[in-house]
Amino acid sequence: MGRSSYTVRELLQAEGCTHCALCAEVCPAVSASADARLSGLYRLDGLRRLNRSRAWLPARLLGRKAPDPDELKGFAEKAFRCTLCGRCEEICPSGILLKDIWVSLREDMVESRASPDRVQTILKNLTSAHNVFAEEDAERAAWVEEMREPPRDGYIRPRAEVVYFTGCVAAYFPMAQQIPVALAEIFQALEVDFTLLGPEEWCCGFPLVGAGMRDRIGQTVAHNVEAVLEKDASSVVFACPTCYEMWRSRYPWRRHGLRLFHVSEYLALRTAGRPLPLRKLDLTVAYHDPCDLGRGAGVFEPPRQILRSIPGIRLVELAENREQCRCCGGGGNLEMIDPDLSARIARQKIDSVLETGARTVVTACQQCVRTLASSARRNKVALEVLDIVQLVRRSLET
């Protein structure tokens, strides 16, 4: 029984749906699966029915039965087949804060023992290994060894002005490891006093939130904050928008006087008065707004500002951009729950990039890079996928 998972506001807002179906029209999971039961509309209906059946007295009076376990499992399966991209919330004319409701719904499904089995794997791996892939802590900064001339200290310094919080995807997935390598080289060119946390960096905790276990993030939050404070750092920089959003919304950073930046904000700020020496790149690029960076943190302009600052870059916009940007398919733990659906969403995204005429898509998220690059390769599409950090590094004169 998980009705306590919801706030009063969420329960009231769930009643405010007008069934306009705009959320279904823009949902990437619905369009990729052609299954309207994955829409916000369907989920809100299900949630209302569920909660009414749980209200003991009215349920008895109206002859409503408690939800059947199999029915609940079927509903849970749909609740988890969602990238938590927030596009439904952005378009909802009733202003329902749907993303919060989806996270609470997942928590409800976990408490009701109806969630998919993979959810327990996420918990087990994060508890035992501090990352969702069950890789070793000691390997977290192994990407440094991929550099031709790695620094002796491996960028793990006793104290520094800036902590670069790498994030699990860039730390452990070889396809994304080129991003921290590029960023470390840019930081060196900018003479940024930075450090990594190395083995002391734990997963930011998002996979637990997305798995419906937000009440289990306390230890990881406390550990990461402590690790940053030990470095005497004043700022934390993220190339992962999800880590950035987690810190912004669920970490006590203000209490400790920390400043948080997505790398696009940080680079835009640092290079405003002192531009980097960038060489010309003759390239047309489309920019994909990562969901957690754009709709989540409201960061739209800094990445575009950086792209415009690179000589020779022609920036083209996707038909759906900024607040309306369509998810790549890599969010909300979907890749772990339903990899096929994640891949179908990615394929749709690739098609929308190709429609712009660009053959290079730039984003500002390591998971988007993985998702899109994997899709392009699987589908044998000649599309280059780059993080903005990689593009800046390519343009850097060294």
Partner: protein
């Protein structure tokens, strides 16, 4: 040699994590074996470290990615990386299409060519090792 649906050529040397090795002049050519590529599924990324990288037998020197699976590549011998198959940068699926041919991964300059004798080689040894691994992965 075919073993339970896996093609394992007799003339190759095998590293225990399912990478094959073949002498080619002063170098060793290395790639993923048929068992590993079938287990991994569609390979979407192969790490191609810089040439000249020092290798130590048994130590990880690269990684391979297929969907949510990340595989580590261990050096079969001491030496240095002489060449990477640059084709894999844009076509990592070559490993699935032709793991013993166009999907080769690395060329290694061994410190001592004689070290390959420590690898798994010969029909009997290969069959025994592979059957044990098939059983092991069945249980996993």
């Amino acid at each position: 040699m075919q073993i339970q649906g896996y093609n394992m050529p007799d003339d190759l040397y095998y590293e225990e994590h399912h990478f094959w090795v073949r002498p080619e002049g002063e170098l060793l050519v290395m790639g993923m074996d048929d068992f590993a590529q079938q287990m991994a599924g569609e390979v979407v990324y192969v790490q191609l470290p810089f040439e000249g990288k020092k290798l130590e037998a048994g130590k990880k020197f690269a990684q391979v990615e297929s969907g949510k699976w990340v595989g580590k590549v261990y050096a079969p011998v001491d030496g240095e990386l002489a060449q990477c198959n640059a084709e894999l940068e844009s076509h990592p699926g070559l490993i699935n299409e032709d793991c013993y041919g166009k999907g080769w991964m690395y060329k290694i300059r061994p410190k001592d060519m004689g070290e390959i004798s420590k690898l798994i080689h010969g029909p009997e040894a290969v069959e025994k090792w592979l059957l044990a691994d098939i059983e092991k992965y069945k249980q996993d």
